[in-house]
Amino acid sequence: MLTIENGSLKGETRLRLNNITLSIDSGKLVGLIGPNGAGKSSLLKAIAGIEPASGRFSWNQQLLSAMKDTERANTLSYMAQDDIPQWDMTMADIIDIGLLKSRISRSERQRRIANVCATLNLSEFNGHSIQRLSRGELQRVLLARALVAEPELLLCDEPTNALDIYHQLNVLQLLKKQSEQGRLVIMAIHDIPQAAEYCDELILLDKGELVCHGQPFEVLTKANLAETFGVHADWICNKRGVAWQPRPL
């Protein structure tokens, strides 16, 4: 279980996160939604320990900031937005970077890489250089890098960004599968219908503040969407499905 108490993050001119308090159970796919600049990425970075935030961020009652490097690397994994590898390497070498901090044997290393490739339907690209992969295939490799250390908590910053609709759904399904296996997956996402469709819970942020946290139908109300996004949405969401037609207010 992830618990955040009074999580705040200072920016140059304003608070990027203001007193966020929430807790989320494992085994869920959670969507972070909100307008640009709402603090979605900031919250992910604060949890991942990339930006020094004040407040308590704990995983299963253990403070994340108090964990040792290797322990934390095995607990959480962070997938940055559009983090394309700088150098052309083979797929296995790229995924192996996710294990740099893990002290495991060579055979265990290879077993884990083979496992994660099988899970993410990447086995056919074994030995390929990543330059030969499409953007959608590469996104799965980046996900594999984040998952190969078998973290309990996976943080993804807009994992569907820059992907075509087929690969967007593909990535969402894979993330959903990860959460069903007991992981907590938190992702920032812009597409509200997709968020409603795939996520078990949504966290709505605006100007660094927590507006609402709950099941999609609780969060995606007309009032919430009008207040945060400044759009009027005709029909939003119920427990069975989603359809929406946003118009400017």
Binding site: I50, Q86, I94
Partner: protein
């Protein structure tokens, strides 16, 4: 046999072959063949081999390796294929302090201290760059800080030379900065080796961190690497490597930039491969250029640093054009 092992073996053999050729060159006309043929060399010939040619060979190999390694480390650290050791500001810092010593006429008093003063200047430059870069996980700040310090040092140096009361200052300075392996001995080897070794060991201890930097700094921090601290450690290591080269043979450009490119060109892209292979490729480059410098005779020996740039720049352009056409095909 994996491809990296093959390449290490191949380049080692090339270095051995080039070393034999390198040892056979010189104004005395003594060749390795003579040495092989005769049972005993005269004391004069032994002195030529042991005190002139051997230190020059060692300096060529070590400097090439040091520059190649430093260049690879910089490119991996800054995630930028155009980065090179000079971006740490260490070469210009070292050059500036040297010019200052010459300008104030302190050379006669401090001639034996000059390398240390130069190294101190180089390290001071890197400290300024590190402080300017701050705690941000943003490589652009390091690059900008490096460029700023290098330009500032260059400007001050030009001003000092322009105002120099001593007409020989410019000549002395140019001899020092153009980079040359001529007239070097074991003292230069002894001077550079400790710094080069410390720098190399430091860089190699950070090879996992540099591998992780295939991804953005944010991802690397999320993996549990303390970012500014390790970045600064690598910068200081690169400064020691580049500084050791500058104080022993002067400024040799392009080797640090070119060596990692050559390694990637043959398909060795893994950061660990790039680090080790760039050292070997750098040694091959400097050895070949030094042989070339001695083969062409234009009355006096051309400075190695200048020839390296003259050969290196078109080679780099050719590589870039080739890369571009490959991308166009894809």
């Amino acid at each position: 046999m994996s491809s990296i092992v093959k390449w290490v073996l191949a380049l080692t053999l090339v270095i051995i072959a080039l070393s034999a050729w390198h040892l056979s060159q010189g104004s005395s006309g003594l060749t390795l063949w003579d040495w092989w043929r005769t049972d005993a060399l005269s004391a004069y010939q032994q002195a030529i081999l042991a005190d002139i040619r051997l230190p020059r060979l060692v300096l060529a190999v070590v400097n090439g390796a040091v520059l190649g390694l430093a260049g690879a480390a910089m490119q991996l650290l800054l995630r930028n294929p155009l980065a090179e050791p000079g971006l740490t500001g260490v070469s210009s810092g070292a050059a500036l302090t040297t010019v200052a010593v010459l300008y104030f006429g302190l050379l006669p008093t401090f001639s034996w201290l000059l390398p240390f003063i130069a190294l101190a200047g180089g390290l001071a430059a890197i400290v300024v760059v590190v402080v300017m870069a701050g705690n941000y996980a943003d490589v652009n700040r390091v690059i900008l800080a490096g460029v700023a310090i290098s330009s500032l040092a260059g400007a001050i140096m030009a001003l000092l030379l322009y105002l120099a009361p001593n007409p020989f200052a410019f000549q002395e300075w140019s001899q020092w900065t153009l980079g040359s392996l001529a007239n070097r001995g074991w003292s230069h080897v002894n001077l550079m080796l400790p710094f080069a070794l410390i720098g190399a060991v430091l860089v190699l201890t950070q090879s996992r961190f540099l591998t992780a930097l295939t991804f953005s700094e944010e991802t690397v921090v999320s993996m549990g690497y303390s970012y500014p601290a390790r970045r600064n450690l690598v910068l200081i290591a690169v400064a020691l490597l580049a500084g050791s080269s500058v104080v022993s043979v002067g400024i040799i450009g392009f080797v640090g930039l070119l060596a990692p490119h050559l390694v990637r060109l043959v398909g060795l892209n893994h950061p660990k491969q790039v680090l080790s292979m760039s050292a070997l490729a750098g040694a091959v480059l400097v050895l070949s250029i030094d042989i070339f410098v001695r083969l062409i005779s234009v009355g006096r020996e051309l400075p190695l640093g200048v020839v390296a740039a003259v050969i290196g720049a078109p080679l780099l352009i050719a590589l870039l054009v080739r890369q571009k056409s490959q991308q166009a095909v894809r």
